[in-house]
Amino acid sequence: MSPLSPLRRIDRLGTLLGLAGVAALAVLPFVVFKENRIASGSARSLAEALPGGLGVGLAAVIVLVALAAALVRRPGARLVAALVGLVTVALAVGRAADALTPAGNRLVRISPGVGAWVLLLVCALVATDALARLRPGPAARVACLALTAAAAYAAFALGTFDHLSIMREYAVNASGFPREARQHVLLALGSVAAAAIVGLPVGIACHRAPRVRGPVLQTLNLVQTIPSIALFGILMVPLGALATAVPLAAELGINGIGPAPAAIALFLYALLPLVANTTVGLARVSPAAVDAARGMGLTDWQVLTQIELVLALPVIITGIRIVLVQNIGLVTVAALIGGGGLGTYVFQGVGQTAIDLVLLGAIPTVVLAFSSAVVLDALVDVIGRNPQ
């Protein structure tokens, strides 16, 4: 019996994705052309957007990627094919924007069409599938991330996408963007750092005193169930009152609206996963190891820092990963109460029905969350490699 009949040689997921890609290329609009940022757009097919050799070249690449996805089994080769497809589609979209923009016109808006998005998604899925099969180690995953970041940076530095609508929005907001991005990162990292400083001792206390554990975890659980906007609202009242009563607080930037309630709310959201993971991590530590450590004359502090916390660290870092990714997303909402961050663009864009402005806030947020997840997952892997 042959282990691989011709039909079974075909990768089903790859075939499906490949067909979807080819269909998207043939039928769906490749880019959308708008006279200005709020005009309704008109679709342009690949042939219209990239007439001549470029369009044919892209089509050829996509067909090759689809064939590779369907027929090639080696994950490494599939990954290379998918990455080639990803880069080619991205470059083609940038090139189409260049070609469709009349010289010197700053009003037209050209954005990727449904077809381009589907192509990017298909290539990304094939790449993800290949990566999952390759099982790269922590260092390789971080290296992949760094390479991707470098490639993206190079593309922006070279102006590859300058004529795309989202980069048009960036150009308009270029002066404020670094400030909002920094504010976003500061709010997310700061709230997680503060929560770690508070959550770790609270988690240790919960582990040591089972009587404390129930009430503390239930309270934090309750906080976690309050919707973010409601929590921001709840915090406005006491902080506003504080600012009125204590002028110094207002001078320090503590106010009913602004970054202060945002930072406090984010801190509160981060507490539960950190406290819970610290408690669970410590509970997983072998009681025999702790008893032996004490029995050999380690002090309580030495038992905590050399044995318990070291063994609980992978679980604690997992908690930090959860809250960091969670808070990077939640900071977006903080813009509603004047907290700043990339959410500012999202809400401005919603207000102006300018979807490109929304994306200017949303895409960097997603990239930030994804990158921190990759880095912290790698960290958990490295630390957790110590046998438990």
Partner: protein, 311 residues
């Protein structure tokens, strides 16, 4: 010498250890035996003050243990427990080096001591020093646990059910090894177990505890011959007590001058094994031969039978 003086531990209204007094000779193995909840582990843990006594005191070699901070005291007392309690994130060598490092030994001295102990416990340093505990078998883990407890050359070694997690064959080997090592270093060993056979096999003296009280503290043979309490005879078992008694004496110890017609037995064989041999061969006596081949005399069936009952 460990002097335990009316040591008591109460948790609220419950008295877990009730005014236990005993004196443990240096260089001996004392086994504390009892059912679960008898207070034997608590008694052991009060010796190194993992549990602080409610009242009473422990004096080791003339020094009251209450005078130094608990962690300082424990660095000079070996401690080995059931399930070994090795640190999973540290290598075998690092585990063994724990107490010497706490005591601030120089690195070279620590390394030499770790290698010495690994050799004594039949673990080739080149092969095992850098391994992590999960890479070892259960018996090897247990050996590393005992080696770690002995690392800083403590005069006293406390062991809480150290062989409880081992299968019977490895357990027997571990018990023999402990005997050898205890003789080699002259360590005073206090071992807690619920296994009466282990108590008889290892103990120079055996302490029987129930419900926090010390019922009897004596040589194993005395526990069999003169149990102080019905609970002691229940624990030691009455149906085969004569055979247990015989297993505590070697042929060399029971040998008397004279010739014998029966089979040859080894001097270190227990009388229980000699009796079995006599029953099997149908002989009435046996020659006792030392390891160097010389004869130590004879043992007779009647002589063995006389030793298998209370005087």
């Amino acid at each position: 010498m460990i002097e335990i003086d009316s040591l008591t531990k109460q948790y609220g209204a419950a008295t877990v250890v009730d005014a236990v007094s005993m004196s443990i000779a240096s260089g001996s193995i004392t086994v504390v035996v009892g059912t679960s909840g008898s207070g034997k582990s608590t008694l052991l843990r009060m010796i190194n003050r993992l549990v602080e006594p409610t009242s009473g005191r422990v004096v080791i070699d003339g020094r009251d243990t209450a005078t130094a901070p608990g962690h300082q005291l424990r660095r000079h007392i070996g401690y080995a427990i059931q399930g070994h309690g090795l640190f999973p994130h540290r290598t075998v060598a690092e585990n063994i080096a724990t107490v010497p490092r706490l005591l601030g030994w120089e690195a070279a001295r620590v390394r030499a001591r770790v290698e010495e102990l690994l050799r004594i416990f039949q673990l080739e340093p080149g092969e095992y020093a850098a391994k992590f505990p999960h890479q070892l078998s259960g018996g090897q883990q247990q050996r590393v646990g005992v080696a770690r407890a002995l690392a800083a050359e403590p005069g006293v070694l406390l062991m809480d059910e150290p062989f409880g997690a081992l299968d019977p064959i490895i357990r027997g080997q571990a018990q023999d090894d402990l005997r050898d090592i205890q003789r080699r270093f002259g360590t005073t060993v206090v071992l807690v177990t619920h296994d009466m056979d282990e108590a008889f096999r290892l103990g120079d003296r055996v302490a029987v505890m129930t419900r926090g009280r010390l019922l009897q503290y004596d040589r194993p043979a005395m526990l069999l011959k003169h149990p102080a309490d019905p609970f002691v005879s229940r624990l030691t078992g009455t149906s085969d007590r004569s055979l247990k008694l015989l297993s505590l004496t070697t042929a060399a110890q029971a040998a008397e001058p004279g010739a014998a017609d029966g089979p040859v037995v080894a001097a270190e064989a227990s009388l229980r094994d000699v009796l079995s041999e006599l029953v099997w061969s149908g002989a009435a006596d046996a020659k006792v031969r030392r390891a160097d081949g010389t004869l130590a005399g004879r043992v007779t069936l009647a002589g063995i039978l006389a030793l298998g009952r209370a005087d």
